[in-house]
Symmetry: C2
DNA sequence: TTGTGACTGTGACCTATCCCACTGGTTAGG
DNA sequence: CCTAACCAGTGGGATAGGTCACAGTCACAA
């Protein structure tokens, strides 16, 4: 249950059992319904969260109201660390994409842990490094790839993290509307829809509401590059 | 001189004098001429570098050979940490944009320092967090802003870090060709050139080879948003 | 001096993608 | 069960920006 998810989470993975449960006991739990907002870009706040169950989206809104999603996070993933180590207002809005639950840790508690246990620091550093690497990849994709390519890549990434392989293909219940998918890849809903329709017409995938079945992972991967 | 730069560098800023000079003494120095490459994307390597003097560009190359610059770094800034905390090949190519010198620290040495001194860990965490925040901003810009906007923003950022204010404006010796500037903002050289020409014709800036003088920071800032 | 190569400046296309308009389907609340 | 929202699908026109093709400038070497 809860603790299994946390033990897998990179934040905890280097800790022994008693340390992990001590850390766990200083965390508070919370939950949200689909569509609810945990906090807004610009809010102040200094908690770090770990997703226990469900999915959330991290998004930012431009001056003229358009939205862009930085990431979709699922069980075991962490967010909110930015306001912690680089103090300042929250840099993104976090919204539940499905009903979801979290464990959270306050600034002070985390710092206490950091000072005592170097392994926690290493875990956090490698988490941040991985995130940074990924962010750089996103930048490269925006510069180099066209929209269909980015859509293919996003779907494969979601498949990796949330997909279940069956004999008719990889079922990906991403729980995102096409609008949200579009915001995730930085394109308009319409172009994303056309890209998806094109993939479907080639038999690479089958479209279902808030979900896809990827039938030809190989070609999708080739299209993504 | 050298040590002044390092003491300003975020990696060192939280250390007291004797700790800083101990850390300094475990670092090795090196230097490059303009155009020389320190390491290539895909290389293995586990050193962390701090720029002592000069400027470098971090770039990645796409499958079809086009280039994209992730960042221009100057004195006091750090790079190469990614391969450290998220082990793997180097994720970018580092090239000297001017003659430059560096201090470097090996994987093991850094980890030794990390375990002993929690402040070093915090410094690194906040560095990475700041970088991540910045990377997210770049993503948002690519999605929301047009090329002239991104050019304006890039120039202001360079001005912030490398500019010298005089009575005719802020002199920014960025040392980048327009080609490199284009790679930095993710656009073609031609469009960047036209954007620059437009800014110049409006009297917002004056163009000089590998350098600009920003005469109307206010309007540039407004254009960037 | 002249030639060579690197960089900047500019016009003319061409195309990916955005924006708009509309249709049909599906869901949720009264 | 009906109506309002929301969501997915699709066509067509407008456009930002990429690509191509040159011309002009400058530095530096022969």
């Amino acid at each position: 249950m809860d603790n299994d998810v946390l033990r897998q989470a990179p934040l905890f993975s280097a800790l022994d059992d008693e340390a992990a449960s001590a850390l766990r006991s200083s965390m508070t739990d919370s939950r949200l319904r689909r569509g609810d907002v945990l906090f807004h870009e610009g809010d102040s706040g200094d908690k770090l969260y770990v997703v226990l169950d469900g999915k959330v989206k991290l998004g930012r809104t431009s001056a003229d109201g358009r939205e862009n999603l930085l990431a979709i996070l699922g069980p075991g993933q962490m967010f909110g660390e930015l306001s912690l180590f680089d103090p300042g207002p929250r840099s993104a809005t976090v919204t539940a994409v499905t009903d979801a639950s979290f464990a959270s840790l306050s600034h002070e508690d985390l710092l206490r842990w950091l000072d005592g246990r170097p392994m926690v620091a290493r875990g956090l550093l490698s988490q941040l490094a991985a995130r940074l690497r990924k962010a750089n990849d996103v930048v490269a994709d925006l510069v180099f790839s066209d929209v269909p390519g980015r859509v293919a890549k996003a779907l494969l990434d979601l498949a990796d993290r949330f997909g279940r392989t069956a004999d008719d293909g990889v079922h990906v219940h991403h729980d995102l509307t096409q609008e949200e998918l579009a915001q995730l890849v930085g394109a308009s809903r319409e172009t994303v829809n056309k890209a998806l329709a094109d993939f479907a017409s080639r038999g690479w995938l089958r479209l279902e509401p808030r979900s896809v079945v990827i039938m030809d992972v190989e070609r999708m991967a080739r299209r993504a590059r």
